[in-house]
């Protein structure tokens, strides 16, 4: 296979599977399982290819820009593809046991479409293509939430739909402005020609706003907790783990690659983004601490963790020689949070299923009632807190060293405070796990082994990311747009 075609295959595979999934539950499941097996292979093939040959560029069907669609895979894309493949595979495994023929009738189709669009976002070099993929992503994500078919889920899905559409359309408006100004849609080309004039900055503003709404950054986050909490568990995992990251990924491309903000000149705007991030960390954590049901707690923790990602922006601007460290830390946070958060959601789903309730006190004694799931949750939670050894720890180490190395104490304090608050809400679950109350001895509903295994698998990946940080970060390459 030609090395540059890896990217195309990673989109085509889930798409083809989705087509098969129209055939019904059984066909969909087979297709999804196959995807779950092949996608990681493809992803790691892509990783290797990028590692060996540098960024890959693939004109789809031989048509190049401007009319044709060009795919572009660099280190960042490859890492996102890999994270998607791993989380997707585990979720697929989990979903196979979670749903049955009735409840999961449409799940496979929607999920595979979502997978397609995720990969599509990560390999697009073309902003309009990006828009299409984002729309597909948003719609399938909404559909996944709606699959839960409860009242709460429907309300949440509706709200999600509206926000997602507003975000996409803002993005589309930005595309129009950019095209009007520069006459090209290619991210790469835009990166070469973009200038900070009024039209471009207006485009940047609306696109950023759109993507922020989709990423659910504070204070536009309110739609996220109910949506993620009321969705079916596998959906929650991918929504929190991957979907919000896709729009963040787009933001990275915009700010770093297209506008090259690390070169300077955007400090004030980056500061605003950072402030929002800091707000998210604090606000999300405090609200997570107030939750009394486990899935809402995890969902609010997503709000908080997304805040870390936004702290990346001011760090890039002010960190000087440490900017690259911040960049690595930010991306590593994306990847490790994806695994950790997905594993937490999956484990929480198992626990809720086992005890038949989602209130935190109902989880009393879960530590010995459901040890594997609890272990998965614990590892995921600790990675979230930034406890070593875990991916979260590496990410926090990098971000923190960038902040401290460049003397930006405020951001360092936010990071530290966020860690402490995270420890607080993870503890809310842990404390019940070891409690010895009458509830702790109640028998549990059986939980399929596959579900527990899937959660543990992801948790172990989150853990393992703490040990193998060097290769992925090597692959990531230098900060885009750095002077």
């Amino acid at each position: 296979m030609e090395s540059s075609a890896w990217a195309a295959w990673s989109v085509a595979l889930p798409l083809a599977a989705a087509a098969v999934a129209i055939g019904g539950w059984r066909a969909g499941r087979v297709a999804a399982y196959l995807t779950a097996i092949i996608a990681p292979v493809l992803a790691f093939g892509t990783l290797r290819a990028v590692q060996e040959a540098g960024p890959l560029r693939h004109p789809l069907g031989g048509w190049g820009a401007p009319l044709g669609i060009e795919l572009h895979v660099d280190g960042l894309s490859a890492l996102m593809l890999a994270a998607t493949a791993v989380v997707g595979a585990a979720t697929t495994l989990y979903a196979g046991a979670y749903f049955n023929r009735t409840t999961g009738r449409w799940f496979w189709l929607v999920w595979l479409l979502l997978w397609t669009s995720l990969n599509g976002v990560f390999v697009s070099d073309d902003v309009f293509n990006l828009y299409v993929m984002l729309e597909l992503l948003g719609l399938s994500a909404v559909a996944l939430v709606a699959l839960a078919a409860t009242r709460d889920a429907t309300v949440a899905a509706m709200r999600y739909f509206l926000v997602s559409m507003a975000g996409s359309l803002l993005f589309l408006l930005g595309i129009a402005l950019l095209y009007a100004r520069y006459g090209t849609l290619s991210l790469t080309l835009l990166g070469l020609v973009a200038e900070p004039d009024a039209a471009s900055l207006l485009a940047l503003s609306v696109m950023t706003l759109g993507m922020m709404a989709k990423t659910a950054i504070f204070p536009l986050h309110a739609w996220l907790p109910p949506a993620h909490a009321s969705a079916p568990t596998p959906a929650s995992a991918v929504l929190s783990g991957l979907v919000v990251k896709a729009s963040f990924y787009v933001l990275l491309r915009l700010w770093l690659q297209v506008f090259g903000v690390s070169g300077g000149g955007f400090e004030a705007a980056l500061l605003v983004l950072g402030a929002l991030g800091a707000g998210a960390v604090l606000w999300g954590s405090v609200l997570a601490l107030r939750q009394r049901t486990i899935k809402l707690l995890i969902a609010y923790s997503t709000v908080a963790q997304l805040g870390y990602l936004f702290i990346l922006f001011p760090l890039i601007a002010v960190a000087g020689p440490w900017a690259e460290t911040a960049w690595q830390g930010g991306v590593y946070q994306v990847v490790s949070h994806a695994c950790a958060k997905a594993s937490m959601f999956l484990a929480a789903g198992s626990m809720v299923k086992a005890v038949g309730a989602d209130r935190l006190p109902a989880l009393a004694g879960i530590g010995h009632r459901l040890p594997i799931s609890f272990t998965a949750f614990g590892i995921g939670g600790l990675s979230l807190v930034g406890m070593p050894p875990s991916g979260g720890f590496i990410a926090k180490w990098l971000l923190l060293s960038a902040a401290l190395g460049s003397g930006n104490w405020i951001w360092a304090l936010v990071l530290v405070l966020g860690s402490l608050l995270a420890a607080g809400y993870v503890f809310l679950v842990l404390r019940h796990a070891f409690e010895w109350s009458p509830e702790a001895t109640r028998p549990t509903h059986p939980v399929p082994r596959r579900m527990e295994a899937a959660a543990l698998l992801l948790a172990l990946v989150a853990l393992g990311l703490g040990f193998v940080a060097a290769p992925p970060l090597d692959l990531l390459g230098p900060l885009p747009g750095a002077p």
Partner: protein, 507 residues
């Protein structure tokens, strides 16, 4: 085979795995598989002890074990088996074995033993990892792991009080760990190195960075000070004594407080270097904090009626001897502090075992209820007496040796007031330990209505699984003092550490 192992650079790995693997397997055993669990526990402890023995042998002959895994450019997980690390590791390995036996006896028939032993093993793994850490990065990895591995042990009983203690423990240690991380990253950002180097890694840092280094030192000290229970960061320790006796024993003797103390040693000697620490005036800060802690802990211990609580405050006080000694800039003080790492462990674990025996066998947890207990549990109380008298610093028990070198070292370092501190502390120790001994041995048992009745009270000792470990550690505590200058003794090893690691020469 042992010969082959001796030359193996990666020997730290199997030593870590010897407790990690049993811990992981036990977590997923069925609760009823008592035998498998025992085999795993004792087997792991035995294997670890054997491997540590091999390493001791190697290090004594000049070997240095080093294993590195690069995580990021400039950051690596490095496990280094040098003489200082082995001091701590040997203590952990020996006491782990003893405590495992004790815990098997202690928890017989109680629920959740899988979880207990699993985290117990993880806890030891983390402790050994802390000892092996070759840089601050590795150090904090295991340091944090220790926090979370210990939490389930503290809350093991699952009661209201246990949960509360666990919460307090976590608040303290997590904040402490975060502060430590902050300091480490700051150091890394400032100097680009977090490695442990004999004699200090920061010797080359230019003086204009000294203010920042001072800040870093304080932050790091605050971080490890939580686990080392330096006043006023000690609040968690007396609360955490609600944990089962073997946990308290391990917590106070090896795992958590020692990890903190060991951290202080590493920061003083391997990161900053004792000379720079004095230049920055930070060694004096450590000494001051330790002095306050020593006195405060003892004073608080005086007024505790709960036996374990009294012991806990005693730990607060005693552990700071380690920091005190190592912060002095002379070989004698260093030896006193380092050897106390081992000596305090042996004595305190004995005391906690005894407290466990008493409460398990007779349901007594308060000092005021202990009248005549010596008559009922002569062996346990004999062990307790050795531990208590050793803590006071009575020769020839191990505690005296530590105190002796601390005192002589203090004069050598030009800090004669520390002798006053040591003496005051000894007097306070006597003031809170001797009444226990008096109550236990000399006061009449409540069942004995009159003088004649005393013979009626028979012996009711703890079971062999509880008693044997207790006696073993008591014997070790006594032996470490009586044979302090023997070929194989903690003190001898410490002389070697002092000689090798710190480049100080034995007088």
């Amino acid at each position: 085979m042992l010969l082959a192992l001796r030359g193996m650079d990666a020997l730290p790995i199997p030593i870590l795995l010897s407790s990690l693997i049993p811990g992981l397997i036990i977590a997923f055993l069925r609760e009823e598989s008592v035998r498998t669990r025992r085999v795993l526990n004792l087997g792991g402890a035995g294997v670890k002890l054997a491997l540590v023995g091999v390493m001791l042998w190697g290090v004594a002959e000049g070997e240095r074990y080093e294993w590195r895994l690069s995580i990021l450019p400039g950051l690596e997980i490095s496990l280094v088996g040098d003489s200082l690390a082995l001091l701590f590791i040997t203590l952990s390995a020996v006491l782990w074995l003893v405590t495992t036996v004790y815990a098997i006896g202690y928890l017989e028939g109680s629920p959740n033993r899988n979880r207990f032993f699993s985290f117990f093993s993880l806890c030891v793994t983390a402790t050994v990892g802390i000892a092996f850490a070759g840089d601050l990065f590795t150090f904090i990895i295991f340091y944090e792991a220790l926090t979370w591995a210990t939490y389930p042990l503290v809350v093991h009983r699952g009661s209201e009080a246990a949960t509360r203690a666990g919460r307090i423990y976590l608040i303290y240690t997590v904040v402490g760990g975060t502060v430590l991380l902050f300091g480490i990253v700051w150091l890394y950002a400032l100097t680009g190195t977090v490695a442990f180097v004999d004699g200090g890694a920061l010797a080359h840092v230019p003086p204009e960075q000294y203010p920042a280094l001072t800040g870093i030192f304080l932050v790091l000290l605050a971080g490890v000070g939580v686990k080392a229970a330096l006043v006023p960061l000690h609040g968690w320790l007396p609360t955490a004594m609600v944990a089962p006796a073997p946990v308290s024993a391990l917590l106070h003797a090896v795992a958590v407080v020692k990890a903190g103390a060991f951290g202080i040693v590493r920061i003083l000697y391997s990161v900053f270097g004792i000379e720079l620490s004095w230049t920055l005036g930070m060694a004096y800060v450590v000494i001051g904090a330790a002095a306050v802690t020593i006195l405060y802990g003892s004073l608080r211990a005086l007024y505790q009626d709960d036996l374990k609580r009294r012991l806990a405050f005693s730990t607060v006080s005693q552990v700071s001897y380690i920091a005190l000694g190592t912060a002095m800039s002379g070989p004698l003080g260093a030896a006193g502090g380092l050897v106390h790492l081992v000596h305090q462990g042996l004595m305190k674990i004995t005391l906690f075992f005894c407290a466990g025996n008493i409460s398990e066998t007779h349901g007594i947890s308060r000092v005021s209820e202990m009248a005549g207990i010596g008559r009922r549990m002569p062996w346990t109380m004999a062990a307790f007496s050795i531990g208590a008298l050793g803590m006071i610093g009575l020769p020839p028990i191990a505690g005296f040796i530590s105190k002796w070198y601390l005192g002589v070292g203090a004069i050598e370092a030009g800090l004669p007031w520390i002798i006053g501190l040591l003496i005051a502390s000894s007097l306070l120790n006597a003031a809170y330990f001797l009444p226990i001994l008096k109550t236990a041995w000399l006061d009449p048992h409540p069942d004995a209505s009159s003088g004649e009745g005393e013979d009626v009270i028979g012996i009711r000792e703890a079971g062999p699984l509880l008693l044997l470990p207790t006696l073993a550690t008591a014997a070790l505590a006594l032996g470490a003092g009586v044979f302090a200058e023997a070929e194989i003794s903690p003190l001898r090893w410490v002389w070697m550490v002092v000689d090798r690691v710190f480049g100080l020469v034995q007088p």
